[in-house]
């Protein structure tokens, strides 16, 4: 069907690389806008109001596009007391770590940007890069509120890295491989998504990813009513847009990791083989939006934890429970 030379053309390493880069570059703003739109409309529904109404017919779908354009054409303000190179680099670092995470998410059998054999390890390692970006933002702003926000972020993000990592170990043990597509295939072979047995790990992963995203109930670093905007205070214009997009894209990628490791990835029980290749991406997107909905729901229902309560939760509760989960999983894997 497809002419020979087109297939050859796209099999060229450099062309396919360019194509993948283009896809990833497009995906981030699109995902950011889609999830952002979900957030504003869902939060409006929960608060008995309508949400964006005028941009784009009566649905407001163009609201975030308009916001994006608005941010881009704003003046680039950098405070006098700020550390300029660090200030400029911080949003880039956060965005880069998010984009790099997209690389290992399987959207279908073989539909993965790069199938690394240590996919899980890579994903967790890259996601901790954003911590440095946030710290840079807080420190370089030259503003006491940003400093407090940055320090809170340091404590919080490092504390919640551990539960995040420990929570996925259970799935890795059950699958026997660290490759992301390998784990999905293991779930297909087993016939059930791992969440059925790894519900503890799943819960811990969701809580820890909320903390990694600094979303309410874990948004002490931003803490809008205390620190104005925490480490984001001095960011305006397109730099703020990068942070904003990065937050939603990160929400997507962390949810996608959860979907892959716990919820069966691109597979639904009972779906025929032939459809999986076509429907895979949509299934992944559907599951990711389900998780994103839960995260949005939490954000608008709960207030925020205080810093010491947050740390208590991580160190005294989540880490021990995750360790017990690993021990139990290993025990059952060996015994059964």
């Amino acid at each position: 069907m497809i002419p020979e030379f087109i297939v050859d053309f796209f099999s060229n390493f450099w062309v396919s690389l360019a194509g993948k880069l283009l896809l990833v570059a497009l995906a981030i703003p699109l995902i950011g806008m889609a999830l952002g739109f979900a957030e504003i409309k869902l939060s409006a529904k929960m608060q008995a109001r309508v949400g964006p109404y005028f941009a784009g017919g009566r649905w407001g779908w163009a609201q975030l596009i308009a916001d994006g354009i608005k941010f881009f054409q704003k003046e680039d303000i950098i405070p006098i007391a700020a550390d300029r190179p660090v200030f400029k680099a911080a949003p880039m670092l956060v965005l880069v770590s998010t984009v790099a995470l997209l690389v290992v998410i399987p959207f279908g059998p073989g539909l993965i940007f790069q199938d690394l054999s240590v996919g899980v390890f890579y994903a967790l390692a890259i996601s901790s890069l954003s911590t440095i970006g946030i710290l840079m933002a807080g420190w370089s702003s030259g503003n006491k509120y940003s400093l407090i926000g940055g320090l809170r972020a340091a404590g919080q993000l490092i504390a919640y890295e551990l539960p995040l990592v420990l929570a996925v170990v259970g799935s890795v043990i059950m699958a026997g491989t660290m490759s992301m597509s390998g784990i999905v295939e293991a779930q297909i072979e087993a016939g059930f998504p791992y969440v059925i047995f790894q519900f503890v790990g799943f819960g811990i992963f969701i809580v820890a990813s909320l903390a990694e995203l600094t979303r309410i109930p874990f948004d002490m670093p931003i803490a809008e009513s205390e620190l104005v905007m925490g480490y984001l205070t001095e960011y305006s214009g397109f730099r703020f847009l990068f942070f904003f997009l990065a937050e939603f894209a990160n929400m997507f990628t962390l949810s996608a990791i959860a979907v892959t490791l716990f919820l069966g990835g691109y597979w639904l029980p009972g779906i025929p083989e032939s459809l999986v290749e076509l429907a895979g991406p949509f299934i992944v997107l559907g599951k990711v939006f389900l998780l994103a909905f839960v995260m949005i729901w939490f954000r608008w229902t709960f207030p925020r934890f205080r810093e010491d309560q947050l740390q208590t939760l991580a160190w005294k509760w989540l880490i021990p429970i995750a360790l017990v989960n690993i021990a139990a999983t290993a025990f059952f894997k060996v015994m059964l």
Binding site: A48, K144, L147, R152, E226, F302, R304, E307
Partner: protein
């Protein structure tokens, strides 16, 4: 023009020290800040997350009301007085008017008194609903804001329908309330009464207010994170609270059943049944809960008042130029924020010789240096918010 960055760095007070010093950081919370309820500035010495030696700096909204009232006549003073606590506008006028009427030994018609009572309780509901909206927002929960403000809009619409103003009604007159222009001709001067729909719609609005209290209780009261943030935080023992002059829900949350509506007789509260809400621990959660219950009690009072409202005049007979005979008196009332009182010194002229305004938030705020000693930064916001003060009330 070259900018002297060193000068600006010094002026902006945002010094990020290069060497590793471990001295405390001086943080200015305010005067522009999302959570300080206006232009309040707290100068806090912060060590990590712990604050100590927090000094409030007030006076950004000082408008000099006590001096202004010496050059105003009594009807003119009611226009400025309802701007003291601008959230509960109507309630500020009442103690002043009652003080003037006391010195004139004037009898206010019962219908006017009932209308004053209904409108005061509506001001109380309005003020407490703003608290219900903004306090969870300061803790991070954004949703109760919309629930509470939705019903508050209804109450404010009703206030506007009868007085003409949402926040600054200026509806009291010496001797009663302003004879209202009802539905219909606005040219007739005398004898018009409340708008036709006002009483039934208020009854209906009170039902909805009680319902939103249930919704807020579901959403906020049992929430574990709210409990963790407010239980045991900002505990004020009764002795300390009374010594600082706390009043209103702040004092009642510490356990004192002290409600000026039952003690002073400035309005006919004795004709109605309502409870005085007290708390047990005197922490932030108790103060929140007291205000929520008080909304319900106010709704009950309004419904009883509307059921039993007498007919009659709206204003007693007063001369055109009001001269209040010489004398001194102190009249205090239960404002939504606490005890609001006016010490009126009159010399027989058409304006007071001296008017001392005792505002509730001023004394409520004075406890902050004591309360914020050694607390974490998030708790500063929680405690400050739970005091429910308004800067106009603090600064006058």
């Amino acid at each position: 023009m070259a900018i002297d960055t060193d000068v600006i760095r010094h002026l902006s007070e945002a010094q990020v020290s290069v060497e590793l010093q471990t001295e405390d950081m001086t943080l200015n919370i305010g005067p522009q800040h999302p959570s300080t309820h206006g232009v309040l500035r707290l100068v806090a010495q912060i060590d990590g997350e712990r604050a100590h030696d927090v000094q409030p700096v007030i006076g950004y909204m000082h408008r000099g009301y006590e001096k202004l009232s010496e050059v105003r006549t009594y009807p003119q003073i009611t226009t400025i007085v309802n701007r003291i606590d601008w959230v509960s506008g109507y309630a500020n006028e009442i103690p002043f008017i009652v003080a003037a009427e006391k010195l004139m030994e004037l009898e206010v018609p019962p219908r006017a008194q009932y209308i004053r009572l209904v409108l005061t309780e509506m001001a109380r509901i309005s003020s407490h609903l703003i608290f219900m909206a903004s306090y969870p927002l300061e803790l991070g929960a954004a949703t109760p804001l919309f629930f509470a403000l939705r019903e508050r809009e209804r109450v404010l619409d009703l206030l506007e329908s009868v007085t003409g103003g949402r926040f600054h009604p200026n509806f009291n007159r010496i001797g009663g309330v302003k004879p209202v222009a009802g539905a219909g001709s606005t040219q007739k001067k005398v004898g018009q009464d409340l708008p036709v729909d006002f009483l039934p719609e208020t009854m209906d609005a009170m039902d909805r207010v009680s319902k939103v209290c249930d919704e807020l209780e579901d959403l906020v009261a049992g929430n574990e994170i709210i409990l963790a943030r407010t239980r045991g935080v900002g505990v004020f023992p009764i002795e300390v609270a009374a010594s600082y002059g706390l009043s209103g829900p702040n004092l009642r949350a510490s356990g004192a059943a002290f409600d000026l509506r039952k003690i002073e007789n400035y309005l006919p509260y004795d004709d109605f049944e309502f409870n005085v809400i007290t708390g047990t621990n005197g922490d932030c959660w108790d103060r929140w809960h007291c205000r929520l219950q008080e909304i319900r009690e106010s709704a009950k009072i309004i419904q009883q008042a509307i059921d039993g409202i007498p007919s009659g005049d709206l204003q007693a007979k007063v001369p055109k130029v009001i001269k209040v005979p010489a004398g001194e008196t102190y009249v205090r009332a239960e404002n939504p924020k606490g005890e609001m009182g006016y010490y009126l010194v009159s010399d027989g002229k058409d304006g007071p010789y001296r008017l001392k305004i005792r505002s509730a938030s001023f004394s409520n705020l004075s406890i902050l240096p004591w309360a914020l000693e050694g607390v974490l930064v998030p708790d500063i916001i929680a405690i400050m918010g739970s005091l429910d003060f308004v800067l106009g009330d603090v600064d006058r």
